[in-house]
């Protein structure tokens, strides 16, 4: 029974917003028609709570108050009609007092519904926040568990290969460098995510040199693609590209997008970083010839509701990093776009406003 109600609720929730208003209006019309055709001795007031409740549940305020108002008017209209048919109250004031009482009753119920709705939303937010926290703990535990294991094993291998070949040792050192770079990025991501989830992050928008930020991110990640024969193509305009952004946030964005591109590109593949100036904005994209993302996973990693924990099983690695990228871009009035084809590669892109003010501001990055 509850499953049937839940199923109906889910189906109705998927309807467009105007459809709910239409259904609410039809319900109100139905109740009014019944009220109109029955005697005033049969009180129909309580049935007006059906359209009011429906609109409050599916559309919320202010439409629910509007429906309450219409319901009181409909009740008044039915009552006036009844008086005309069967004779009236001793005084007209009784009629209007009755209508006012109904209106008060309807508004009270509507206010209660709104309160319940607010509590429900608050509860959802709380639950999401606590889910995010436990997802973060799970991911930290996973990422650090892997990294620490690798570090421990590599140190043992290094000790044991004291007399080994130079090539063998340099391979071990390359692993150490990659793991350390990965841990640094993971830590930065978690700190950012934590600051943003607590609402403590305020972007400091200023003159930022887009090409420099991209180059710095590349320099940071270079050790991770050593020996992997990945071609990195930089398609930058010949002149500097000043944008209005928070350089630190932008640095995290670029490092994550590049890190993902390298991670999901096979050895011998290509990663293209493109910066192109449009009329008033700058389009930045990171394109790879990697494994690509299936449409259903793409939806998951890009949706607002998507959670890190679920993603660690769906598309691990895109998880926290992409959430941070999305949130950081959003805080600067931008957004992340993605195009991808499984087996061919992915392209992540975003736009930032071009810096149009005079360049007397001290450059944040040179």
């Amino acid at each position: 029974m509850t499953a049937a109600i839940k199923g109906l609720n889910d189906r109705l929730r998927r309807l467009p917003r105007t459809a709910h208003l239409l259904i609410g209006a039809l319900l109100l019309l139905g109740v009014w028609r019944l009220d109109y055709s029955t005697s005033a001795q049969i009180s129909f007031a309580i049935f007006y709570l059906i359209p009011i409740g429906y609109v409050a549940w599916f559309r919320g305020e202010p439409w629910s108050y509007f429906t309450a108002l219409l319901s009181a008017a409909a009740w008044l209209n039915a009552d006036i009609h009844d008086i005309a048919q069967h004779g009236g109250y001793e005084s007209w004031e009784v009629l209007y007092m009755g209508a006012a009482t109904r209106l008060g009753f309807f508004l009270l119920v509507t206010a209660l519904a709104a309160l319940v709705d607010r509590l429900r939303r608050l509860n959802d937010v709380e639950r999401e926040a606590s889910q995010l926290k436990s997802d973060m703990v799970a991911l930290v535990s996973h990422e650090f568990g892997n990294a620490l294991t690798t570090l421990r094993l590599v140190v043992t291998l290094l000790k044991e290969s004291a007399d080994g070949s130079e090539a063998e040792r340099s391979e071990h050192y390359a692993v150490l460098e990659r793991v350390i770079a990965h841990l640094s990025l993971t830590t930065a991501n978690f700190l950012n995510l934590n600051r943003m989830s607590e609402g403590r992050y305020v972007p400091h928008l200023r003159l930022t040199r887009m090409r420099s930020v991209a180059r710095e991110a590349l320099t940071l990640l270079e050790p991770t693609i050593e020996d992997r024969n990945i071609a990195v193509v930089l398609d930058f305009p010949p002149k500097g590209v000043p944008v209005r952004a928070d350089p630190d946030a932008l640095s995290v964005v670029m490092t994550n997008l590049l890190g993902n591109a390298f991670k999901y590109t096979e050895d011998g593949g290509t990663v293209i970083v493109r910066i192109s100036v449009e009329e008033n904005s700058v389009l930045v994209s990171v394109e790879d010839t990697g494994i690509g993302i299936a449409p259903e996973d793409r939806e998951k990693i890009m949706s607002r509701e998507y959670r890190a924990g679920a993603a660690s099983r769906v598309a691990k690695g895109y998880g926290v990093g992409l959430k941070v990228v999305r949130d950081l871009l959003k805080s600067q009035g931008s957004s992340l776009g993605v195009e991808s084809e499984v087996g061919k590669g992915s392209r992540f892109y975003f736009r930032l406003p071009l810096w149009t003010e005079p360049m007397n501001d001290a450059p944040a990055r040179t």
């Binding site: 799970a138 535990s141 650090f144 291998l157 691990k316």
Partner: protein
């Protein structure tokens, strides 16, 4: 290809390669970067032990274990998990895994565990012939 003693399945390429180098000193080791690849490897070979990561994209370690449980010949599987995945590890034991190792572990520990799991079963009666009661 020679039948490997151990198949290592983990999507973290650095961890996987390091495990291959470490255990490869003593055993014949094969590797797979994910569930589907592991199942492909297992079609042609029968390793005596599988080290299987739990959290992998595409196909989790649990999914791999389920796919294996339908096979007639079941390999011995050891799950590799992090602390927060202990519940999943327990599910894995129910599905037939023989052991789970919690990351981070060190070289001595994994070597000892693998040696223990690959050791031949102890001979009955200390290897001496049974005396038949008169």
């Amino acid at each position: 290809m020679e039948t490997p003693d151990i198949l290592i399945v983990d999507d973290d390429s650095d961890l996987r390669r390091t495990l291959v180098l470490l255990l490869g000193k003593t055993y014949r080791v094969a590797e797979a970067a994910g569930g589907p690849e592991a199942l492909r490897v297992l079609e042609d070979s029968r390793p005596r032990l599988i080290l299987l990561d739990v959290a992998m994209p595409e196909m989790s370690g649990i999914d791999v274990l389920r796919a294996l449980s339908e096979r007639r010949e079941k390999p011995r599987v050891v799950m590799l998990t992090s602390h927060t995945e202990i519940e999943l590890a327990k599910t894995a034991l129910d599905l037939g895994a023989v052991e789970y190792l919690t990351k981070p572990f060190d070289a001595d520990y994994i070597r000892a565990e693998v040696a223990r799991l690959l050791a031949p079963p102890p001979e009955m009666n200390g290897g001496r012939p049974w005396r038949v009661a008169p």
